[in-house]
Symmetry: C2
Subunit: 636 residues, 2 copies
């Protein structure tokens, strides 16, 4: 069982339930080699507060004495760790040394016998740069083995592995096939050789191609990923579990892990790490070699767990994009991986939260975040221009001389104003909407950004078919264009109409406002706070510029838009709880509008499309229908 608690796009904080307790993801499972224990499970728990560990069932099976101990006492007692234990199957050993002398079935049964919490199937890693045909046959064999494995797993959770080398079509196929099976965890395998050779672009492409087809309600384990440089990027793409033998392997060569790369301890003259090991950095050099390896391994764990917590905090704050844009400066190949991710905007947008508290433009890449992509898309698909013939283009940061937009609109009823913003053209009535209203942008931008602005502005003028477009440069220009006004447009009304379309879809303005007497209640600072239709409170406006839906507002949308638009349908048994204001749990959701995004306002309906509640969605359609546990919609 896997339950989502917080999210930032594909990245998520979840709870994974196992026989021996829960583990919170994103999580890093340190690898224990039972033949060569560098840091004991006890120390891992006490010093590093790890929820869970991973060890290797094949290595245990090969060690006759320890094997017997595990069979007799169970792995938890034998290894000395109370809490979730995952076991690997020997796949990597098979990749390195060939035939293991044990069948996939035997190694899986063995894992169940020693009472592991999460067992792993014995899959096949294709060699680095394997030909397509080899990779294909390895992937197909992995799928066949997975099909056999799910039948034997009993109450142990089972991880099945997506293979397919660097061929995204194979990874996609493998992901689709595994999603049909009753496995509990998806592992993305065969990526260690890529990480060792800094092919992070391939890694990112592999994760995306798998993730697009994996059942969203199950955790994704990026097998063998133990470098903190990559955690934020992998989490951004929806990876939940990591395991690290890197902490120990790197330590053997005196190499210290950091979120900005790897350094040999000998290279470090001024240590800036604050971990308990580095507090006594100068003593490291004096230590006897094996003692130093242990200390460096401890450092590597401190830093790796800290980076996992950093990622979790960023998910919690909805600032993971900002974190990734920092972290990707660690190495040009990581930077390249981010660039390649940005090509998958359509996919990323589907999971992107409707809004965040802030939007920091901190690099050229900020402009390519899914939030910007969504704004651009909705602008051209949903936004409806007001009834004005002349488009006045305002350079960003420059307001016309008059004090407020509504004054200007009143003065020049035949004109409409658009801000030529770095994020794209912003009709002034949308200037408080996320991300444009929240974005903090550097003063000057580069040629690429300027070219994009120009392109989008031109598209805007053509798309909305303005016969005249002028650039506002000074107060005088406006005077020249001035025309007598019969009846002034109501700017505030323009704003609520435009936001309604951007948020709920094209023509939402008609649903909510047409033929009704609209009143707006404003805050002391002049921002619209509440919208009334025929004296009924239908909408509130948040700081991110979007609406919170009142039940009466929901009714209007429900009448106007036909099923399934904006709907989350629940089974009739749970309907009465929704009516009482209880949250909607995923397992009760029977259907859902596929255009719903995390944090969207939604209409909750019963099996006959009766409106029974209003709330904020936490999940996308695919997720609602997939998760067995946890909240799908927070009901108001």
């Amino acid at each position: 069982m896997f339950e989502l608690k917080e999210r930032d796009g594909l990245a998520r904080i979840c709870t994974l339930y196992t026989k021996n307790g829960i583990l919170e993801t994103p999580a890093l499972l340190p690898v224990i080699n039972p033949n060569k224990i560098l840091i004991s499970p006890k120390e891992l728990k006490e010093k590093f507060k790890t929820d869970s560990i991973i060890t290797n069932a094949y290595i245990i099976w090969k060690n006759e004495a320890f094997k017997e101990k595990c069979l007799a006492q169970g792995i938890h007692a034998a290894i000395g760790f109370e809490g979730p234990i995952m076991t690997d199957s020997g796949t990597f050993q098979m990749y390195e040394y060939g035939d293991l002398g044990i069948s996939p079935e035997e190694i899986l049964d063995f894992q169940c016998q020693i009472n592991t919490d999460i067992a792993t199937m014995l899959d096949i890693i294709s060699p680095l740069d394997a030909k397509y045909e080899t990779a294909k046959s390895d992937a197909l064999e992995t799928i066949r083995r997975a099909e056999r494995a799910v039948k034997r797993k009993k109450e142990t959770l089972l991880a099945c592995t997506v293979q397919g080398s660097i061929y995204t079509a194979l990874r996609e196929h493998c992901a689709k096939e595994l999603s049909k099976l009753d496995c509990d965890i998806f592992a993305i395998g065969g990526v260690v050789p890529l990480m060792e050779t800094y092919r992070f672009e391939n890694l990112a492409e592999i994760i995306i191609s798998a993730k697009q087809h994996l059942t969203p309600s199950k955790p994704v384990h990026l097998f063998g990923c133990g470098h903190p440089m990559i955690f934020s990027l992998a989490a951004l793409l929806g990876c939940d579990l990591f395991d690290s033998s890197s902490y120990a392997k790197y330590a053997e060569d005196g190499r210290m892990l950091f979120p900005d790369g790897t350094r040999s301890f000998e290279q470090i003259v001024h240590s800036s790490c604050l971990c308990p090991v580095c507090e006594k950095f100068d003593e490291l050099k004096e230590l006897e070699s094996s003692e130093r390896v242990k200390k460096i391994a401890e450092h590597n764990l401190y830093v790796s767990f800290a980076e996992i917590r950093k990622v979790k905090q960023a998910i919690y704050e909805n600032t993971l994009w900002e974190l990734v844009e920092q972290r990707c400066r660690a190495h040009p190949t990581v930077f390249q991986a981010l660039k390649s991710i940005l090509k998958h905007k359509e996919f990323l947008e589907r999971f992107e939260n409707l809004y965040r508290k802030s939007f920091f433009y901190v690099s050229q890449e900020s402009l390519e975040r899914p939030a910007i992509h969504r704004y651009e898309k909705r602008l051209f698909e949903r936004y409806e221009k007001p009834n004005a013939k002349i488009l006045v283009i305002l350079p960003e940061g420059k307001k016309p001389y008059s004090k407020t937009y509504s004054e200007i609109i009143e003065k020049f009823p035949n004109m409409h104003f658009v801000v030529d913003s770095v994020l794209g053209p912003v009709p002034i009535e949308l200037d408080e909407l996320y991300p444009v209203g929240q974005a903090v942008v550097p003063r000057d931008t580069n040629a690429s950004a300027k070219a994009r602005m120009e392109l989008l502005l031109r598209r805007y003028i053509e798309h909305f078919d303005y016969p005249i477009a002028v650039v506002w440069e000074s107060g005088e220009n406006l005077e020249i264009l001035k025309e007598p006004s019969e009846k002034a447009l109501d700017f505030d009304f323009m704003r609520v109409k435009a936001v309604a379309d951007m948020q709920f879809g094209k023509d939402a303005r008609k649903a909510l406002f047409n033929g009704r007497k609209i009143k707006l209640k404003k805050s002391q600072t002049g921002r619209i706070r509440n919208v009334f239709a025929d004296n009924i409170h239908i909408l509130s406006v948040r700081n991110d510029g979007f609406f919170t839906l009142k039940f009466e507002g929901g009714k209007l949308l429900h009448e106007f838009f036909s099923y399934p638009k904006l709907r989350v349908a629940v089974n009739d048994d749970s309907a009465e709880f929704v009516v009482q204001g209880k949250n909607v749990f995923s397992k009760f959701v029977t259907d859902c509008d596929e255009n719903i995004r995390p944090y969207d306002e939604v209409l909750i309906v019963d099996s006959k499309d009766n409106l029974i509640g209003i709330g904020r969605a936490l999940l996308t359609k695919m997720e609602m229908l997939s998760f067995k546990r946890g909240i799908a919609v927070r009901v108001r």
Copy 2:
């Protein structure tokens, strides 16, 4: 006295000598408020290993009892700190509360009387957004006070302050005037209000305008800068000293400092800081308020000192640009500050090291580093094309089918090859030179980078006046262009000639090779390692592609180029030590070629321009003539 030990462009690790011991810069001096001691000087030394502290002489002077104690025992005993103590003068209090009731002379004398190690003049901070005239009169008064102050300072080191608000012309004037005076430290003052309002672009401009005119052999103190977010950027611009009351001020509001920004402790759900305070993060919330303030202040100090060490390690590794490109993602205003710094390439290039171990292209901004600017400049000013009519443009990463460049050159003697690299056009004989040979570049680049490539390539073709330029696309193109070869060009020879011009200046190839029989010694991997002229070893080639000069090579350059080109002249007393192979100390340098850059190979000459040695410069001309202590040239 101030001595340079390591550098990365303007950033430097130096030793500052005071009456009470030395302090290593970049350094952060924690502020002690004697009326309100949050963390005692003893704790600062023991827990945080601080070299030195700063306190406020005006606050001491106002506190009758403590004043008497300081006068009687000296400030070190009174405050309980053995080691360099700097005192501030009350400038900020005057800015906040007006007249202090003490004259600039009195407060300076008081600082000398209590035996402070570094005293600060009482200068005048202009209000934020002061009009030019106000800022000017404040700056001029500050200069007049500085002139009076230097006469009274006795053996105490004196910090004089550059003022001038956001007006760079005023800052420049002030810097020039202070540089004429016998003060020991330059402070850049009046920047706290800018930092508090996130105007980091103004801050950067102010530092650059001052730094351009300040005597380079004295430390620069960025007064009131205590946020770790800014240390790397300020160090990159040549700031050596920082002071922090921020650690305490922010702590009072529960705000925790990080290199990527500020967070309230209440915002943090998953703490990723590894400092001893955050190790027990969950206990913070339980603490009684004043105890929590102290703990958060400790965290702020741990993190701030760690960031100073991070900067030092980066200077040591020559990776400060990479660090700044990471750190500037903390906030759009810091990103903007970096953008604005990049406009000062000419200035930055003067201090830029000749080479580094690596060059990581990690953002759009990497292309604008001074190392790239220098390559571009020297290419058009110094490089001489070989005698070939046809230019063949090779797309980056694609080599023609033949195995080595020398084979190609032999096959196509009328052609010359240039790589259309993201860093700019690279004639193939320069492809091992820093930064092009060392650069690690992401696979794909954005529109701005592509536009720049196109522009530079066009300029290259025009500048070198190739009648024919073709883009190499496949093996066949080369076949078509094939012409019979009478005598093949020697590619290796082309390479050493081109590098000689790029490193030593236009026509260096003539100085070193013309009319001489040249032999090259190669490594097993085929790289040129040593160059012989008429059987005499004149040059060695390093991994960064540049030459190390042998004495005989130096003689050739010395004969060919007239004084002062490539020279460092020393006084005749020190000449005999140079002949013995001793290093050249700054104080013996009498003159120097102004085009010498850090790490350049130089000719050491006596007063009659006799060549007496060869070495590697550590300083620029201005620095050599300014520093009283430390090595100017490492002699071989």
